[in-house]
Structure formats: structure tokens, C-alpha cells
């Protein structure tokens, strides 16, 4: 699908080649969606992609000669039958968004799945509604992974999970945790409830304190926009409205911090 003429062996050597340009265009959201592919930058992300989801990795690009960090990752890719192309450093820099891709990058195929699949049989899932900051979305995905959650769902109007900053913020967790994107939040709540999950709306105005909430049953946590908070329709649709106690004078917690507190509270209660 991605227009990258030439076999992997005859790698691109010019920063102006069509293949380099095609990879570089993955920084653009509409182009990403039109080809269903995204850029995976840096050793940690490429290593995790190759280790956990080689099936979605189209091609790995590594600066020639590979070094002690990029070399083992390139070998692991080759062993997983992922095409590996060595390129001069300026070519990798021309392909990538970050200032320091650290010698390795890859093109991956979209790996989100339908929300129905994410919630089925799950014990702990996060729904992010109208989340705008890619760093927040990526950090929540990473935290959900650490907390052993079964999945993350991004609503319509939320940030694109394949945005470069989001991918980097997941620190590889994008390839560990099942996730869905561009979903109707009301639809997800209905699906999750039908799958046996309790729906907890995280909201500062929640009548139930996190300290008192029963977090043992299978749970869908719902978090809202960074500035406006959770949509009243979603607050009303939840089974319970839960607030994190504020012991000091802060008005609220940052979204990623709030999600960390709630997800770990759930993870610990469920174990």
C-alpha cells in the first residue's frame, strides 16, 4: 500500500528518494490513515514491535553499520522475517520526526482492533474520551500496560494513537496492550456493560471516593478531556461516579496521573 518502490535489499541511499519521502509522510495523520501505516522510532519502540508484534512490522530501517544497540534489534527483526534495510544516517534522519531516532526506525501497520474485541473477557479496560494531548494518551497506554490492564479505547475526537509523540510516550506498550481507536464512547459503555464490566466514571465531582469504591469486579474506567473533564452524558451513563480524594489544595490531578492512581488501585484490588 505504501508507495515504496525497490526491494528491501536495494535500500534507499538518497534523502530525496521516493521511499524516504513516503516514510517521512507518515508524520502526516491523513496520509497515515490513507495507507494504514505509521512510523516507529527509536530502539525501545522498534525492539518491542519486533518482539511482540512482528506481524505488523513492514520494514526496519537501521543506520549502517548497526551499533551495539540497533544491531541486536535488526537481527531480531531479520529472525522474525521482517525485512531490514541498512541506510546512511542522513536517510534515517530524513525519514523520522525525532531529532535523535538513535539509529533505528520501522514502518508498522495499524494494529488497533474493534472495541468489542478489547472489552470481551476483560477485567480492566480504560476508555479515554476526547483526549487531546498525544503525550497523555501514550502515557495512559503505558500505565495501563504496567497495571496489567486488558486494553485501552480512544474515543472519536481523541488524539490519533499513531501520532509520533503518542507512539513515543507509550515506550513500546503500543505493541503490548490491545487498543481501539475512533470509537463512540456511549457505544463502548453499552458494549462493556453487556460484556459484564462495571463502568466507573472518573470525575472530580464523583460521589464515591476512590478509597471506598469496590474495584474488584471487572471494570471500565472512563476518563474525559484534559481541560473540560468528562462529558456529562458519559458521567450519567456510568454505573458509578468516582473521585480521587484531593488532600491538598490542587483543583485536580493531571489526566495521566489520575489514570495511574485509578488503574493501580484497580489492579491491586483485583489481585
Amino acid at each position: 500500500v505504501l508507495s515504496v518502490p525497490g526491494s528491501p535489499q536495494s535500500g534507499p541511499t538518497s534523502v530525496r528518494s521516493q521511499r524516504v519521502t513516503a516514510v517521512r509522510r507518515l508524520a502526516n495523520g491523513p496520509f497515515r490513515r490513507s495507507v494504514g501505516r505509521f512510523l516507529i522510532e527509536g530502539p525501545q519502540a522498534v525492539r518491542e514491535a519486533v518482539a511482540h508484534r512482528p506481524d505488523v512490522v513492514d520494514e526496519v530501517f537501521v543506520v549502517t553499520p548497526p551499533d551495539e544497540v540497533s544491531g541486536p534489534i535488526a537481527r531480531a527483526a531479520a529472525e522474525a522475517a521482517v525485512p531490514v534495510t541498512e541506510v546512511p544516517e542522513p536517510v534515517l534522519l530524513a525519514m523520522t520526526e525525532t531529532v535523535h531516532p538513535q539509529g533505528i526506525a520501522a514502518v508498522g501497520r495499524f494494529l488497533d482492533r474493534p472495541a468489542t474485541e478489547v472489552v470481551t473477557g476483560a477485567a480492566l479496560v480504560v476508555l479515554l474520551d476526547q483526549i487531546r494531548d498525544p503525550g497523555n494518551a501514550g502515557t495512559v497506554l503505558r500505565t495501563a500496560d504496567a497495571a496489567g490492564a486488558d486494553g485501552v479505547i480512544l474515543s472519536q475526537g481523541s488524539v490519533d494513537p499513531y501520532n509520533g509523540k503518542c507512539v513515543r510516550s507509550t515506550a513500546g506498550s503500543l505493541f503490548h496492550v490491545p487498543f481501539a481507536a475512533d470509537e463512540s464512547s456511549m457505544g463502548v459503555i453499552a458494549t462493556a456493560r453487556a460484556a459484564g464490566l462495571r463502568v466507573l466514571a472518573a470525575t472530580g465531582a464523583g460521589a464515591t471516593s476512590l478509597v471506598d469504591a469496590d474495584l474488584r469486579p471487572p471494570t471500565l474506567w472512563v476518563f474525559g478531556n484534559e481541560a473540560r473533564g468528562l462529558d456529562p452524558e458519559l458521567v450519567a451513563a456510568a454505573d458509578e461516579r468516582v473521585s480521587i480524594p484531593i488532600y491538598g489544595r490542587a483543583e485536580s490531578l493531571n489526566l495521566a496521573a489520575a489514570a495511574a492512581v485509578c488503574l493501580y488501585a484497580s489492579a491491586m484490588a483485583q489481585r
Copy 2:
């Protein structure tokens, strides 16, 4: 100290005026330190500064005419005897770092205090060693505030707490929570221990799981650099080495998420 000629009443009306230039220079760290002043941008930060620490606010600048958001904050400032200057919008934009200061900004005086003061009589304090990301530092300060912590200490080599991005990330908590900056971490650990606090090093390699740690005694939490983790010398100097359990496949948590989990665990255990 800050070279801003002209009385508050004869406010700056030109984007090129010396006063505007002096305020704009507060975006520069060495200049900030030379004058001991920093920029407070946007309604939330200015509101919290005026409400909680009017003693450190030199002057508030508000776009003329004040609107329904900036007006009440400007009035509160005036009532607290803080000089308020109305300026045309281009002047406020020329003074500030953010694209949208939302009609209000202020100049504040440094309000950090010695670490000894922060730990004395405290039940919960955070030490951030070699933290480099201003967003992380600010988010931890905000989270510490929400968790009812008594203070935050930044080590030598950590980000400047008066950096614009850090100030914004605190969402006003910079004016709620006592904090220290540019401290020797080993010195802080000794001082905290002398003040009766237990020193807990947050480290993925910690032998004690957060689930099993006794978090009721007065505690100093120590967190290390985002990429390298905690310095071995500090790990060794702690009373206990605590790890957040990783239930999934993530390698670690993001610093701000880890701090949120640990600080809330402490806050809940201490209540």
C-alpha cells in the same frame, strides 16, 4: 531588581518598551536567576498566586478591558495590594511565552525555600533527583499537592522549577506546596532522616513491593532521572528500596505516573 522603569499606573503600551522586554526576558533561565523573578502565565496560575502567595507577586498584567475570567483575578490582586497594569493584548503576547496566555500574566518572586525547612515536621515529601523534563517536575508538584504532601525538593541538576513549562504544568500548585530547588540529594536524605522521615527509593529493582511497604511513617520518596533511573548512591542511601509492581509487559512507568501511584499510596496509608 527587575529593570522595569515607569510606575504601574503609566502602563507599558508598546511591545518594544523596556518593561515589556524585561518581562519577556524572564523566559531565560540565567536572567530569571539574576533577578530572582519568574513569569506566571494564564488565569489559573495567576489566580492561585494571588490567592495563596500575594506576597510573592510583584505585578499583574491584564489585557484591557479585562474579561469575565481575567477581571475577577485582577480585582483579587488589587484587593491583595498587588499592582495591576492593564495592557493592550499585543503587549501581553510580547511579554509571555505561551501562544494563549488568556489575557493575564504576572511577575512573581522566587518562592523556593531551603530543603531543611521543607522536611521539618513533614509527613510526606518528594525528592526529585536529576529530573530533566519540566512537564514531569510540574506534574509531580501538582500531584504532591493533590496527595496532601508537605513538600517537593528538586536536586542540583534537575530542571528549573521556574521554567515556563514547569510552572504551567503545576496548574497553580507551585503556590500551594512548599518546595526547594538546587539541593544536594545526599544532603536532603541526611536532613530528612534527621527530621524523622523514612527514606524510600523508588526503583524498579526495589526488593520491597509497594503493596508490602509500610507507608504509614513520615516518608521521603526519592525518584530519579527519567531515562537512567535513580542514582545507585541514592538507592544505597535509602532506608528501603520500593518497586511498583508491573503486572503487564511495560518495562517501567513514566516518572509522573510512578510518583502519582507512590504518593497516593502513602497519602492513603497515612490517613
